[in-house]
Amino acid sequence: MQCPKCRGAMRTYERNGVHIDQCESCRGIFLDYGELETLTRMEGQWSQQHQAAPPPPPPMHGAPAWGAPQHGHYGHRPRRQQGLFGMLFSS
């Protein structure tokens, strides 16, 4: 197979299930149909696992081992228990 840009010879690589053709003279890469989407998806998975991570959490001081189950899950907002606020006022 010839490079569509410089007519150099293309070499085929297989990387993590993605089929890549690379030109040996101009280093250009040719992707088969659907392979760009596959790469995009894999990149998304990788960055989710490795770097982008969750948004910076507020400063936390940990929760006790006997704490209510919802504690410690960032992003989960416990329900507003307005009705129970009065409890904070009695001896």
Binding site: H61, G62, P64, G67, P78, R80, L84
Partner: protein
């Protein structure tokens, strides 16, 4: 309660004498009476309160090292009206029960941190703070065998001996001046700044007990993590000594917060029973916390005996 009884008449008379304005009875908890007259309030303490400890606490409260931390009484004097002890204070504005978002968590944390830094030696003689003793007395008020009562009693027996926790040495490093009964109802704005009130349980003790209520509410899931963290951050930023400056605060908070959870749950169960109503959301949330305490403490005990 009748509003024309001799006790109330005398409280009104005292209030008018100090306040120079018409007297009105303010709503408060059932065992206390508060009468306001213009700039002062007169407080009839709960029945059965002993005079000498309150005299000591009033003397400590009037000490200059507590200005800006605890409300200064109008007079140090502890009066006796009938079978009640009576004290006189400047009137203040309490925290709004209906507006959780406006609750002054940071101000509370700073006041407690500053109180914990006051050298207790200057205030002696002063006895132990009221916190730990309240737990057993509240649990003792449970008189039935409902599932809720069994859970609370079981959680109480899982806790280490709190009497041993009461053994303190006046100048021990881990003990300090403490409020002894802090919650959101124990602050007023007077006139512009928040300040601590109610010295009935003030004394020397483990300062972690003053953080025990918010810690218990947080552990029960009643206090949002953000609010708890704001409170704890402000306490640490003010140099509060109840928890380590960095690292895990729960090493110091676990026992006071668990004991307070048991005490608060007992109080809720007693009240629900007295009012003849079933357990509501608040009661169930606290009972769940008691169950988690039982699970954790039982697990720890079975491991340590292996």
């Amino acid at each position: 309660m009748s509003h024309s009884d001799p006790l109330l008449d005398e409280l009104r008379r005292i209030a008018v004498q100090y306040g120079g304005a018409p007297a009105e009875v303010l709503p408060t908890r059932p065992d206390v009476i508060i009468v306001r007259a213009g700039p002062v309030v007169v407080k009839a303490h709960a029945p059965g309160a002993e005079r000498e400890p309150l005299v000591e606490r009033m003397r400590a409260t009037a000490h200059p090292s507590l200005r800006g931390i605890v409300l200064e009484p109008v007079t140090e004097e502890v009066m006796v009206v009938g079978d009640r002890l009576v004290t006189v204070w400047p009137a203040g504005t309490p925290v709004d029960h209906l507006n959780p978002d406006a609750a002054p968590w940071e101000a509370a944390a700073r006041l407690l941190a500053r109180m914990h830094a006051v050298p207790a030696g200057a205030l002696l003689p002063l006895r132990a703070a009221g916190g730990p003793a309240k737990v057993a007395s509240m649990v003792a008020r449970l008189d039935g065998d409902s599932a809720a009562e069994l859970v609370v009693r079981r959680a109480f027996t899982c806790l280490p001996d709190l009497d041993a926790e009461l053994v303190w040495e006046p100048f021990s490093e881990s003990f300090s001046l403490t409020h002894g009964d802090w919650h959101m109802g124990q602050m007023v704005r007077a006139p512009d700044e928040w300040i601590l009130i109610d010295v009935d349980d003030l004394g020397v003790g483990d300062p972690a007990w003053d953080l025990a209520r918010p810690a218990a509410w947080f552990a029960a899931g009643l206090l949002e993590p953000e609010v708890w963290n704001r409170f704890l951050d402000a306490y640490r930023a003010e140099g509060g000594c109840a928890v380590p400056r960095d690292g895990d605060p729960w090493e110091r908070l676990n026992l006071p917060a668990q004991a307070t959870t048991v005490q608060l749950t007992a109080g809720l169960v007693v009240t629900a029973k007295r009012e003849g109503r079933p357990m509501g959301e608040a009661e169930q949330t606290m009972i769940d916390a008691c169950l988690r305490i039982i699970r954790l403490r039982s697990a720890c005990q079975s491991v340590s005996t292996q």
